[in-house]
Amino acid sequence: MRYFTKDHEWIDVAGSVATVGITDYAQAQLGDVVFVEVPDVGRMVEAGKEAAVVESVKAASEVYAPVSGSVTESNAALTDDPGLVNSAPESDGWFFRLSLSDPGELTGLMDEAAYQAFVATL
């Protein structure tokens, strides 16, 4: 099941593990991504708090953790090819994986239809 935040992150949940990235809308707003700073494995991230930073030619933007958890993996492919965030934001351009500390936090997030409706209002 995939959920979305108002800050334009997506989170794909499979059991107690989830993958996080930014949406196609977000990458289009950012423009050409030149660097991504992903969290180290083992780091505890907190829902709504900074977990990663994405740098475009013109600015640095924070990426928030949609839910709390412990980072289990970060996307090494982004080191060599940060442009994956532009070309495949919702698949190969994922940022990190985490093990959820409280699956209950997912209830506050949007499903795909609700997110698309939200983006249409922007």
């Binding site: 800050d7 334009h8 992150e9 930014i22 977000a26 707003q29 950012l30 423009g31 050409d32 030149v34 660097f35 700073e37 930073v53 994405v54 740098e55 475009s56 030619v57 013109k58 600015a59 640095a60 933007s61 924070e62 990426v63 928030y64 940060p82």
Partner: protein, 382 residues
């Protein structure tokens, strides 16, 4: 995800550029800048727009900048009381880069001064123009007038293809003996007629590329811009690429690399203090500035090239070992350089080319080397 937007000012408070409709029709993403809604990028994106300008020709709308006419007997001498240029010696149809200085020698703005033959034509920054006008008017002697040309647009066509595009427009020199537009040299100016409209043209710009800046009545701006954009060599370029282009060219941006707390010598702009003025003084802050020229400034604006791919942004601290020796004033990724680059003010002892420094970015130290600017070679029609 949170973006560092320049401002959250609502669109209704913003002034619109004469080309506002065209920018939106071209898919420009409009953001607040200097009180105007301005295109930060078009659908091609900052990287593509930057590279296009270096390879072909980019059209920039810089109508937010202040265009001023200073007229009257003794205008050049009076301007010398505010800025360190030799304007009395500025030949007709020549342009000069200069600095508006506060009484203590701090930089109030940077500007272009052109001798049009009968008047001095000034172009000042958009964000500072109203302050500049007040500053000048409050000191203006009787007999001189300062006119704000707010009914004029200002466009820049920049890049190696600009000269060919301008040559094909059928521009007619307004006075005898004036060169055709393609024959103009860097930092010269002339008036040309296009479809009955008078255009004030300088061969200048702020991208490090050859090119032109064109001043024209706002009502004629859209037809002129569309004529340029009809050329396959020309694409519209937003503020994002304008910033990365000037950064690679080593050109300082007012409000970031230049402020009232910075004097011209530490900014690396001693060339803007004309030879005669170095001898005679008589400009604001002359004592402090001439002392800095003689003894060398305590800190210097330098170029930094970072290892790796992570950029450092404005405000990042610069270290030599554990000691902080400076601060980044502009930083980003240089699309033509292919690496992160920055400008910083660094203590003079650590400002020599080749010096190894570190930049603190969110608690991580990034290795950087002091390098000569421009980062990317300039390509002017000298």
């Amino acid at each position: 995800m949170a973006q560092d937007n320049m401002s959250q000012k609502s669109e209704t408070d913003l002034k619109l550029l004469p080309l506002d409709g065209l920018h939106r029709a071209l898919g420009g993403r409009m953001v607040p800048f200097a009180g105007y809604a301005m295109p930060v990028q078009y659908p091609a994106g900052v990287m593509a727009e930057h590279l296009w300008t270096r390879a072909e020709a980019g059209l920039f709308d810089v109508s937010h900048m202040g265009q001023l006419l200073l007229e009257g007997e003794g205008a050049a001498r009076w301007l010398e009381s505010l800025a360190p240029g030799d304007f009395a010696g500025l030949l007709p149809h020549r342009s000069r880069y200069s600095l508006l200085l506060a009484d203590d020698g701090g930089i109030l703005d940077d500007l272009m001064v052109t001798n049009s033959g009968t008047t001095l034509y000034l172009v000042v920054n958009g964000a500072t123009k109203h302050h500049d006008i007040l500053h000048m008017r409050s000191r203006l002697p009787s007999g001189l007038t300062l006119t704000y040309l707010d009914d004029h647009a200002l466009l820049a066509l920049q890049g190696p293809a600009a000269v060919g595009v301008m040559a094909r427009l059928g521009l007619v020199p307004d006075t005898d003996g004036q060169p055709a537009v393609e024959g103009m040299k860097f930092m010269t100016a002339g008036r040309y007629v296009w479809r009955g409209e008078k255009l004030g043209i300088t061969r200048s710009g702020y991208t490090g590329e050859d090119g032109y800046e064109i001043s024209l009545p706002a009502a004629a701006a859209e037809a002129f811009a569309e004529t340029l954009l009809a050329e396959r060599h020309v694409k519209p370029i937003g503020l994002g690429a304008r910033d990365s282009l000037r950064l690679e060219a080593g050109l300082p941006l007012y409000g970031h690399d230049l402020t009232p707390a910075i004097e011209p010598v530490e900014a690396g702009l001693a060339f803007a203090i004309s030879k005669r003025r170095k001898v005679e003084g008589g400009f604001p802050g002359a004592e402090r500035i001439l002392k800095a020229l003689l003894e060398g400034p305590a800190r210097k604006r330098v170029g930094l090239r970072l290892d790796g791919r992570q950029p450092a942004r404005e405000g990042a601290s610069v270290f030599a070992g554990t000691q902080q020796v400076g601060v980044v004033t502009s930083g980003g990724f240089g699309p033509s350089v292919g690496a992160p680059i920055a400008m910083a003010y660094v203590a003079a002892a650590h400002a020599a080319d080749g010096t190894q420094l570190d930049i603190d970015v969110r608690g991580k130290r990034l290795a950087a080397t002091v390098v000569p600017m421009p980062f990317s070679p300039k390509n002017y029609a000298r």
